[in-house]
Symmetry: C2
Subunit: 237 residues, 2 copies
């Protein structure tokens, strides 16, 4: 697991000064945000105190407040910081596919363009991007936080849904919406529960899969088959 992926590894968000180094305050700010990102990803918002963050970042307590503002602000800032990079990766993946395949675009292609940027991020080998991926998985089903961060994710989701509709204009919209939400949750769950998948595999006598490409392939296969079957009009039970 966790092969390095150059795409995400070098990503840093502080602006370098003219001389190429970060301003001192800027570097501290990054340290604080990075520490908060890791801890929030691991323990959730309420499970982390500002003192924990200060300790993890190796700064004093009030430095966290200075750079991060209130605890709520700090949490939102962490989302904001990387959202654009992820969104851009997804948009570019979709645009590239559209350019290359045109009308031959399939649902599988669209799913890949949505899933793979996130997957690469989660398994990039960069612990901050991995933490961010976990954090997204954590808040996506959280009714308290999702409304406050949806602005970062919903627009791109709309684009992908539009692409799905273009592939099959007759698909019932409600089923499409549900298949999409379920697919997104499935994607997030693979990152947050690959430990469970590994455990369960071993319990069944198989080796625990370790290759991200394997997880991607099975996940995308699952969602592709799921979409197809869910969109077929039929009412059971």
């Amino acid at each position: 697991m966790t092969p390095t992926n150059a795409r995400y590894a070098p990503e840093k968000h502080a602006k370098p000064k003219a001389d190429g180094r970060l301003a001192r305050g800027e570097a501290t700010r990054e340290k604080v945000l990075d520490a908060a990102e890791r801890l929030f990803a691991e323990h959730g918002f309420e499970g982390v105190s500002i003192r924990d963050i200060a300790r993890e970042a190796v700064v004093s307590l009030s430095v966290v407040g200075f750079h991060g503002g209130s605890k709520d602000d700090l949490f939102l800032t962490i989302f904001q910081r990387r959202a654009e990079t992820l969104n851009r990766a997804r948009s570019e993946a979709l645009a590239e596919l559209r350019a290359r395949k045109g009308a031959a675009l399939t649902r599988r292609d669209i799913l890949e363009a949505y899933v793979l940027p996130y997957s690469r991020m989660a398994w990039s080998g960069d612990r901050q991007w991995a933490a961010y991926a976990k954090l997204i998985a954590r808040i996506a089903t959280d009714e308290r936080w999702y409304p406050r961060v949806r602005e970062f994710f919903d627009p791109i989701a709309q684009d992908f849904l539009a692409a799905m509709i273009a592939v099959d204009p007759d698909a019932p919209r409600d089923r499409l919406a549900m298949a999409f939400v379920v697919s997104v949750t499935a994607m997030l769950s693979v990152v947050s529960s690959n430990m469970r998948i590994a455990t369960l595999s071993r319990a069944l006598g198989a080796e625990a899969p370790t290759d991200p490409a394997w997880y991607n392939a099975v996940l995308i296969g699952f969602c592709e088959g799921g979409f197809e079957n869910a969109l077929r009009v039929s009412d059971g039970t």
Copy 2:
């Protein structure tokens, strides 16, 4: 949404006294556990204080400690309290199908036997069972809590996986494990995010689905198609 389902509505876990009424202490205990269940489901473990629970249950602070023990104990007790009922419903559903269909059992049947008892519970119209369903969805992907409650869920999951293997003995075990975990997450996500599905449906110009049977049908359809596609050996990307 939320039609009453008699199966779960009358469920109460305190033992009645010989005269048919609950002992006073027992009734208080139930009040405390019910309040904790609702609040933990809504706000998570760290998001709820013992004082919150006391207020919700309309008892004094120390009564919560008296009946619930430590906060950790209280949380685990809530899980324990209803786990057996849910497990029994699932086992019975599977046994009934096996008796009725024998070797003609399908993956779809097995999925239904796993999903429907949970779905009925979540939408039973009883707010405590609904809260319990939300609580399960909340901790299922929580690395801190899942190890402490898996004993309540893993045995039954093993039974269902065994049934899946019986249907298709050649299915690769690792893919089976992953398809199962993803299906379970999908099931849980429908309960915790049906608001998002509804919102997204409206955004696409459809009405927001309100019928639990519709959610069940689309979900099971999705998982069925997902399983089938995920188990096929093929490696993309």
